[in-house]
Amino acid sequence: MIADRRFPVRLDLERGTLELSHGSGGRAMAQLISELFQRHLDDELLLQGNDQALFQPPPGRLVMSTDGHVISPLFFPGGDIGSLAVHGTVNDVAMAGARPLYLAVGFILEEGFPLADLARIVESLARAAKAAGVAVVTGDTKVVERGKGDGVFITTTGIGVVPDGITISGDQARPNDRILVSGWIGDHGVAILSQRENLGFETQIQSDSAALHTLVASMIATVPDLHCLRDPTRGGLATTLNELAHQSGVGMQIRETDIPIRSEVAAACELLGLDPLYVANEGKLVAICPPEQATRLLAAMRAHPLGVDASIIGEVVEDPQHFVQMETGFGGSRILDWLVGEQLPRIC
């Protein structure tokens, strides 16, 4: 690496901490960008040093999505806020059936945060973006006073391109459609909770944080007529199903016994008095497709590493009240309502 004559003394990436000057727009910020961010984020457009990225997108319809990431703790089993910030937005782009292309990253950092931790986060973000095939083309860094932030917040915005002929939207669910999930439910939220000291429990559960666009690509290759896709993040599976029911003006009937839930997740939820159906996921999706396509779709999902535990969990029904009803494992029947209050603060 050629030394930049503007910065005779290198940043102390081992023991240094963030100062307000690192966000003030001056030379200290230029150095932070040069020696920390650009060390890991090396997309050509970003390296140009403009305040914006210019590119020629492939032909087709585009999707755009943004998500702020405010997770605590910043590092957790199975990921960290860096990889999460990539997956969280890549997945929202992918849920339109799109191939994610470009990512913009905005950091809001707290004074006093260790540079070494920031470097780990940026490195993880860069690795996740590379793995997902998205280019981090532009970014921004702000530093707020100590006590006015929480270490690191990352807002990512993604752009992707949608293949011709694909129209996936939350309002496309139709009565008799089948509802599928791509795998185990609740892992992410429980993995995060297990890191909260005051909850005082331990598990081996890892966050499922992952980029789902390749799974989506193989799903739409098999079933171009997919109706809905959504990642059940905050609010969990239950809330996502309610959103889709509300948006499409339908009801849903699902079966508790068909929902894949790990025994550790179920146990952690029993201990804490939580319901795994309201716990966040970061590497799972809900899909809704015409009934005659359901088994083909399930097979396509199970053939993909991120969908091996996929399952058909229920059907769309007509219901002017837009209820999501569930047949319980016990043989009864009940509503699965929207999340009330906040079950799990600050987990994505």
């Binding site: 009803q325 319980t328 016990f330 043989g331 029947s333 509503i335 009330v340």
Partner: protein
Amino acid sequence: MKFIDEFRDQTLARRLAEAIAAEARPERDYRLMEFCGGHTHAIYRYGVQHLMPPNVRFIHGPGCPVCVLPMSRIDQAILLATQHQVTLCTYGDLMRVPASGRQTLLKAKARGADIRMIYSTQDALRIARAAPERQVVFFAIGFETTTPPTAVAILTARREGLKNVSVFCNHVLTPPALATILATAGPDGVRLDGILGPSHVSTLIGSRPYNVVPERFGIPVVIAGFEPLDVMQSTLMLIRQLNSGRCEVENQYRRAVTEDGNRKAQALMAEVFKVRADFEWRGLGVLPESALTLADAYADLDAELRFPVEAAPTKEIRGCDCPSILRGVKTPTDCKLFGNPCTPENPMGSCMVSSEGACAAYWSYGRFREPNASLSRTA
């Protein structure tokens, strides 16, 4: 999960349902009160009521410590946190309970009060040890099940000489509440044929304290576990008692409840607490000898003495039927506010706050059976 999954078995449930249908006599009805909100929650969550014949009816009782706490006690806690600038620790269950003027502990926290949600009394002690310059008040609430952990915390604070710990005590006793309900049964009250007894309470106090129910009121009791099969088996046990004319306390939850209960925990409670002359129960009024406060030897740890606050007398929300629901006289759908405006996001009464409250359980799990199930009247 051992001792859990077995008691949620669908096949056994179907068979028990058939047995109940077979044994419940068509010529009569069985009005069974589940005293405890834990039972209410299980009944709705697993759909137990739909497995019952129509003449076996569950009546919801007052067995939710959150539901029976008067609004003025929440007001007091908020004043304590804001006026005395203490760190107030409490279980999550209380955070959203409505106080006067649409306040809640959660809103007070959002506006800057130092209010912490804890999972154990040990957490309150940890917080106090870490910040010796701050006064830490534990907002204690619960039946006999939850009282001994408070006792342990008080004894620990005394032993360690923690000068910055005190307890705002709201522990209540179940037998007086049950007696009140049964005593007011009658023309304007509720007719009960049997009681599903609170088994986690009995884990501590044993089954014996309920002997008074068959003896004095002639109503059979089954101490019932909280898994859905426990509830169903207990229901069948009550039906059999009623059918055979027996009237006694039976113990379905033998795996954790004995006649005597946990003597060690009882001794700790006796050491630390004394019975209050009377205490207000939401919906039931002021009940004599129905709650605990700190024993004289521990009065210096009593937050009510250390941080006196004057909460104005509160009025319950007009139109809220919680009082009747808690006594089993009404059901949630009888309330004109149910669903609009009263929902778990905007609870008007405490029965809509706790997930064990009858209104919340019915709203969250059961309302789809209603003819106009969304129950919204704004459209």
